[in-house]
């Protein structure tokens, strides 16, 4: 092969690596793959509550196992998921905290007024920074965090009877000894 052709192959090579990258991205997005944060400590956060004037940070949630449900009033699937979250919270297995992601307070409150508030408390992540630290891809997403503050499971997309039964409940059972107090 002469020099011109070798040079002219450069765009093709760049393009093919891009295709590989994109294909890889496709695989990564399928909802089965776990988050890179599984079995890692919860990222540091300190956020205001939507419901009162308190600031919620890692320490205030220490010792309990809880679900962190990422939602926003702008997110249609959160509405679909909402009855499931409400039902799960009603069973009082572990507390459910909300992470109100990239949302206006007023919109979020209106949403809760309309559909009801299942959450023990709600963290307000207005600019989405904490969401980024958690690797939130889009709402809804749900994290299971154990008593030591370690993320044990993540569900991308809506909670449903299947993933609660087959994924969340066994995990909760497995790590229930981490609950202090």
């Amino acid at each position: 092969m002469n020099k011109t052709i070798v040079k002219a192959l450069v765009p093709l090579v760049i393009f093919l690596s891009l295709v590989i990258l994109l294909y890889n991205g496709l695989g990564k997005d399928t909802r089965l793959l776990p988050s890179a944060l599984i079995d890692k400590p919860v990222p540091k956060f300190s956020l205001p509550s939507l419901l009162n004037d308190k600031i919620i940070d890692n320490n205030s949630l220490k010792g309990q196992m809880y679900l962190l449900n990422v939602w926003g009033s702008w997110c249609p699937n959160c509405r679909i998921e909402h009855p499931m979250v409400t039902e799960f919270a009603r069973q009082n297995i572990i507390p459910v905290y909300g992470l109100n992601y990239k949302d206006e307070d007023a919109d979020a409150k209106a949403w809760l007024n309309q559909f009801g508030n299942p959450y023990t408390d709600i963290l307000v992540d207005l600019d989405g920074r904490v969401g980024i630290d958690f690797g939130v891809y889009g709402a809804p997403e749900t994290f299971l965090i154990d008593g030591n503050g370690i993320i044990r499971h993540k569900i991308v997309g809506e909670l449903n009877p299947q993933n609660i039964q087959n994924e969340l409940l066994p995990m909760i059972d497995k790590y229930k000894n981490t609950i202090k107090n």
Binding site: N2, T4, I5, K7, A8, L9, P11, L12, F15, L16, L18, V19, L21, L22, Y23, N24, G25, L26, K28, D29, T30, A36, S73, P76, R79, E104, A106, D107, K109, A110, G128, I132, G135, Y137, G138
Partner: protein
């Protein structure tokens, strides 16, 4: 029954595009004239069948046939007629059918306006367009078929996404697709030329009007999208660097580079390879955009129906089209050597600089868009926000603005920098004066805004002086170019003013309360609840006055669409030549009728879109230059001779 006919015509169109792919190209390689002659009729037939198929889908929406899954998902009994029609392309399946139809329209147009091309040329061009149609027709038929039934039919449909129940969304997608898909024409012309192994100036001259027209549509589509986001999303912003927006911006950047480099490669026989590469890049980015939007690899506020298996299909198409094209480019590279020599100080250099600036900008936007994916491949998550894009783009546009007038004044091949600068000296003087006047009228302006105003004046004044110097002997192509450049100046001015001198307040307002904002007294009269068409609205009433005289009455709404339960913010906008007043309602705060209200003043925001529209007009005007067609006719005989020899 109707849906089955739609299905049937779609299958037929698929088969026709298969024939269009195979027959003329086979005819070309076997030098079989009658096979080559099938290209045009096949292109027309494909267009007719797809048009019927599309119109059937429209009628299914008008007739409210809820046994068709796609209709059921995106319409309901209460939806007004105009939105039932636009719902046809309101979601994934129908919009892909529209895409396919538009592909067929461009193919038909190429068949029709190609009298000046030789048989062998048009056979190749239409065959390549056939390959593209084939891929997308297969995608529509197998992966996103809008004619599938769900039996038994539900009594009522879901609803069209309320965000899309809007005039902007009726026209935005067709126009944008005209642009996206239109880029397949210069792509196909380049590939056809590569297949023949030779790119001469006829090819490039002939692809110029197509590129200009497609680019004009793309520009207008982007303007419409930005305008829609501005008034419909209720955030007062006009561009969010969202992946979906970037998906339309990327081919535009590549197209802009292509238009400029085509000028060189046609007139000076230089950068032929680079022209071909940019043509490939432009259309590949259109397909990449489709992939990003439809596959769900990236999240976006525009969130389209996403489905990984569709993603794999579109990615495969992209790999075949762009990969095949680049492979062909590589093996033909030897024949693309430039012959026209030029010196560093010449228009060639400046146009090359232009295409490099736009390609780099394109690359940077692509990088920013794909960065999250890239990091994810290494197990990290990251988001890239507007600050990256904003500052990157600013950096890219500074040299573009400085060099633009130089490019107009430089001569081909060889010029004295001294001569050009002397010619531009009066322009520089007037620019400084104009920029200073503007600066004192609107001071204080920050650094970026000042630079923007200066750049806008620089381009504006240079174009005007150009007209003064060359009046009377300008072709349509040059007129088009200058109209577009004026558009750039006006856009730049609009952006600088809007971005840096806008004003925004958020506050709680009680009925009867007056807020004074930059000389405007804005009185809140209260909110009433109304039932309009298929939604319920809490409609605010504001009276805006200046110096005691009423300027505008504004009625922002908070809409509630019962079917999907979505609340929607409908901002009220009082548009103006020098400023927009923009009021949007937040939430009801207390029982005394107090509401959260957001008021913006957006200076010169219309100028931005006005600039975009001028760019579009410039593109169309240049495309209509007779030279492209007339010259091609004269070249016809010569071409036939050449190709018979080859």
């Amino acid at each position: 029954m109707l849906a089955e006919i739609g299905q049937f015509t779609l299958v037929f169109a698929l088969l026709l595009s298969l024939l269009l792919t195979v027959l003329p190209l086979y005819g070309y390689f076997t030098k079989n004239n009658s096979l080559m002659h099938t290209a045009r009729p096949l292109a027309y037939l494909q267009l007719i069948f797809l048009l019927v198929s599309f119109l059937i889908l429209v009628s299914l929406f008008i007739l409210q046939d809820f046994s068709v899954t796609y209709v059921w998902r995106n319409s309901n009994l209460e939806l007004p007629l105009r939105y039932r029609i636009s719902a046809t392309w309101g979601a994934h399946e129908g919009s892909m059918l529209l895409w396919l139809l538009i592909q067929a329209i461009w193919t038909g147009a190429v068949a029709f306006f190609s009298k000046s091309l030789s048989r062998t040329q048009i056979a190749r061009v239409l065959s390549v367009l056939g390959i593209i149609s084939l891929g997308f027709a297969a995608f529509v038929f197998f992966m996103s078929n809008p004619f599938l039934r769900s039996i038994p039919a539900p009594f009522d449909g879901n609803d069209l996404n309320p965000l899309l129940q809007d005039i902007g969304l009726i026209i935005h997608p067709p126009i944008l697709y005209m642009g996206y898909v239109g880029l397949s024409v210069p792509f196909a012309i380049s590939i056809a030329a590569l297949i023949g192994g030779k790119i001469d100036d006829t090819w490039i001259r002939w692809s110029r009007p197509w590129t200009n027209a497609a680019w004009g549509f793309l520009t207008f589509g982007i303007v419409l999208g930005s305008w829609w986001a501005y008034y419909e999303l209720g955030w007062g912003g006009w561009w969010f660097w969202d992946p979906v927006e970037n998906a339309s911006f990327l081919p535009w950047l590549a197209g802009t580079a292509l238009i400029h480099v085509q000028a060189v490669s046609e007139k000076r026989n230089a950068f032929r390879g680079w022209t071909v590469l940019l043509a490939i890049l432009g259309f590949s980015l259109s397909v990449l955009g489709t992939f990003l939007v439809r596959s769900g690899v990236l999240t976006s506020v525009h969130a389209f129906a996403s489905d990984p298996s569709r993603g794999v299909f579109v990615l495969t198409l992209l790999a075949i089209y762009a990969g095949g094209a680049l492979f062909l480019y590589a093996i033909r590279a030897n024949k693309l050597k430039s012959q026209g020599g030029f010196q560093l100080s010449s228009r060639e250099t400046l146009l090359l600089a232009n295409s490099i600036i736009f390609s780099v900008a394109c690359f940077m936007v692509l990088l920013g868009t794909l960065f999250p994916l890239f990091f994810e491949a290494f197990g990290k998550k990251i988001s890239v926000g507007p600050p990256y894009f904003g500052s990157m783009f600013f950096m890219m546009m500074v040299p573009m603005t400085v060099l633009l007038p130089l490019g107009m004044y430089y001569r081909w091949q060889k010029d004295e920098m001294k001569r050009v600068l002397q010619q531009l000296l009066p322009s520089l003087g007037v620019t400084l004066l104009l920029a200073m006047v503007i600066w004192f009228m609107f001071k204080p302006l920050n650094l970026k805004a000042s630079l923007g105003v200066f750049g806008a004046s620089w381009i504006f004044v240079s174009v005007l002086l150009y007209f003064k110097q060359y009046k009377g002997k300008l072709t349509r192509a040059v007129w088009g170019m200058q109209i577009a450049h004026i558009g750039v100046a006006i856009y730049l001015f609009g952006v600088s003013m809007t971005e840096h001198t806008d004003f925004e307040i958020d506050s709680l307002m009680l009925p009867g309360e007056v807020k004074t904002v930059q000389g405007y007294d804005i009185e809140f009269k209260g909110v009433e609840v109304k039932k309009i068409e298929n939604y319920q609205a809490s409609q605010g009433h504001f009276v805006v006055s200046k110096n005691g005289k009423v300027v505008a009455e504004m009625n922002p709404q908070k809409r509630y669409y019962p079917k999907k339960g979505n609340p929607m913010t409908e901002a009220a906008i009082d548009p103006g030549f020098t400023r927009d007043l923009y009021i949007s309602l937040g939430e009801k705060i207390n029982e005394q009728g107090g509401w959260a209200v957001r008021i913006y003043i957006k200076p010169f925001i219309r100028w931005m879109w006005g600039g975009g529209i001028l760019m579009m007009l410039g593109g169309f005007w240049a495309a209509s230059d007779r030279r492209y067609f007339r010259h091609a006719k004269q070249m016809k005989q010569k071409n036939i001779d050449q190709y018979l020899k080859a």
